[in-house]
């Protein structure tokens, strides 16, 4: 049964907490939106409420982690990564207090609530912070794996979750490690590299390209934005086929520019396109309406793929 990644996040935390009394969830009045109410009921001594004070949330989480607690600090991605940016940079990353920062309802998950609640900056901002692993799981499988791995890290990690129900990407590829992108569909004509909740529309586009056009697109879930999987990038670029990146983030500074930087500096000259949210405050709508508006959809991605193959 497919669920929202956040539900899997919460369920996995509960499983971990059964054997890890040191695991601690820290929230800023966000246990409801973080799907953490059941966790709080089962483990009332392992959840700490901070109140609506995100800077304090991150600072306190860093202090708890410095004293050896296994801390998941959970707050809407928009606030966690903007208001507390300096606490992330300094208290968590520079001081190396291994907090597991969890940005919930990321990207445009909050839809029509508007730009205050969107986080289209977080990947760009956090990529420039040293000593931080950045992961945007795409489906329930990746989510469970990412939460389990994050709980083992001795350096800081940022997990980025939306809140939509996410179908499983692959029945066969069951490998997951931070820094290793997952090829969830094989193809030879072009490569779609996506992250988080945009991997699924990329996969839908790939299916459609095959059934309607006979074009076989490889699809990569690049769940780890930092460190980027340069080996996989070099591999998919080696055949010279076009590459399209897709992300629920500004076109500036995220997955796409990370890939472009690597490719250009390493001699690859594949046709290349970054799909994301343009540099503007988004149109009003649900997450999927916003996706459709900016082409981050099955048909929108297909259209760009065909353009790059000169079949548009």
């Amino acid at each position: 049964m497919e669920k929202a990644n956040l539900d899997i996040f919460s369920a996995t935390l509960q499983t971990l907490a059964e054997t890890d009394r040191n695991l601690l969830v820290v929230t800023s009045d966000s246990r409801g939106s973080g799907k953490l109410v059941p966790f709080g009921q089962r483990f009332p001594k392992q959840i700490v409420e901070i109140g609506i004070a995100e800077q304090n949330l991150v600072g306190v989480a860093a202090g708890l982690a410095s004293a050896g607690k296994n801390v998941f600090a959970v707050s809407p991605a928009c606030f966690l990564t903007a208001r507390s940016f300096e606490q992330i940079k300094t208290d968590v990353c520079y001081s190396n207090n291994p907090v597991r920062l969890v940005g919930i309802s990321a990207g445009v998950s909050y839809g029509a609530l508007g730009s205050t609640h969107h986080s289209l900056h977080d990947l760009a901002a956090l990529r420039a912070v040293h000593n931080l692993t950045i992961v945007a799981p795409a489906d329930n499988f990746e989510t469970e794996q990412a939460v389990r791995l994050a709980a083992q890290m001795n350096t800081p990690v940022y997990l980025r979750f939306g809140k939509k129900t996410m179908p499983l990407l692959s029945e066969t590829n069951r490998e997951f490690a931070f820094g290793k992108g997952r090829v969830v569909r094989e193809g030879e004509d072009l490569t779609l590299i996506a992250t988080g909740e945009t991997v699924y529309p990329a996969l839908q586009a790939a299916r459609r390209l095959e059934t309607e056009q006979g074009i076989r697109a490889r699809v990569v879930s690049m769940h780890t934005i930092k460190p980027l999987d340069y080996d996989l990038l070099a591999m998919v670029a080696a055949d010279g086929c076009p590459i399209v990146t897709v992300e629920e983030h500004s076109v500036y500074g995220g997955l796409g520019e990370g890939c472009a930087s690597f490719l250009l500096q390493n001699g690859f000259r594949n046709r290349f396109r970054i799909m994301g949210i343009p540099d503007e405050y988004t149109v009003t709508g649900s997450q999927l309406e916003i996706f459709a508006h900016y082409g981050l959809s099955e048909t929108g991605i297909e259209r760009v793929a065909l353009e790059l193959l000169d079949r548009g």
């Binding site: 901070i50 004070a53 304090n56 306190v60 410095s66 300094t90 001081s95 207090n97």
Partner: protein
């Protein structure tokens, strides 16, 4: 336990060392290091259960210097306690040195990479809360400057500290009444500071931050109230111990010339003989 006169001798030596390394580096936060050094002296030599052998123990007391810019005071005390050879400080702020101009965990004995103001009361709250959750007896001491108090996250942290009844947390304000632009009261007054913290649920004491006995008595009385975090408002003099630096704004991060350095040493040397 060190006597008051032994503490006084240590402080004089610490002041000489602070000036020596700032003079050598050609950089440093002179005035604030001299205002807080007596507090660090009393803490490290008579209060904290931490030293080079216990620094990795989960039960050690934590000293977190929120006013990280006065790192020279911290470095000379840590060197004196044997965390590292004092000669290391000759590399202060030099190319590729571990001895950065703000506290860094690259230096053994330093708890956190502080320096960005207004962050560390939050981190201290987390560290103190961990002790409560894990039923550990350690305490957390956080030294703050009076100039950094307008940072809003301090007040978020102050609220939460009393919400969770963290009586294992002691914040100390080095109230030297100056900051880089001018008198703190003119820049953005935080007075009456005691009433503000009391309203946030803290127990507060005033102390002369250069009076060893008064400092010791205050720390001996911790927690000031069961179930409340404690605040020590330490009234200090910026540049304390060197006549021409005392209460002078330019010594916030002023570096002495050779003549000024010699004069300062002379004053401190004469005081040591008293």
């Amino acid at each position: 336990m060190l006597t008051v006169s032994e503490l006084a001798q240590k402080s004089t030596q610490y002041r000489r060392n602070i000036l020596q390394y700032i003079y050598g580096a050609g950089a440093g936060h002179t005035g604030g290091s001299l205002s807080c050094i007596d507090i660090l002296n009393v803490l490290y030599n008579t209060v904290l259960n931490v030293g080079p052998d216990t620094f990795t123990s989960p039960d050690r007391d934590r000293y977190i210097q929120s006013k990280g810019h006065t790192v020279e005071a911290l470095y000379v005390v840590l060197a004196d306690l044997g965390f590292f050879p004092e000669t290391d400080l000759q590399t202060l702020c030099r190319y590729n040195s571990h001895y950065i101009g703000h506290p860094t965990r690259k230096v053994y004995g330093v708890e956190q990479n502080t320096g960005s103001l207004g962050h560390w009361l939050s981190l201290s709250v987390g560290t103190a809360l961990a002790a409560k959750l894990d039923d550990r007896a350690y305490r957390v001491f956080t030294l703050m400057g009076d100039g950094e108090l307008p940072e809003g996250s301090n007040w978020e942290a102050a609220l939460l500290a009393s919400h969770y009844k963290l009586d294992n947390l002691c914040a100390i304000v080095d109230k030297n009444t100056l900051q880089i632009t001018g008198p703190t009261a003119d820049v953005c007054s935080t007075d009456p500071l005691d009433q503000k913290f009391e309203a946030f649920g803290w127990a507060v004491r005033h102390v002369d931050g250069h009076d060893f006995t008064a400092l010791q008595e205050a720390f001996d009385a911790l927690p000031f109230a069961t179930g409340k975090p404690s605040l020590v408002i330490a009234h200090t003099v910026k540049g304390k111990g060197v006549s021409f630096m005392e209460n002078q704004l330019k010594w916030h991060h002023g570096v002495p010339s050779y003549d000024q350095y010699q004069q300062a040493l002379e004053e401190l040397g004469e005081r040591a003989k008293e």
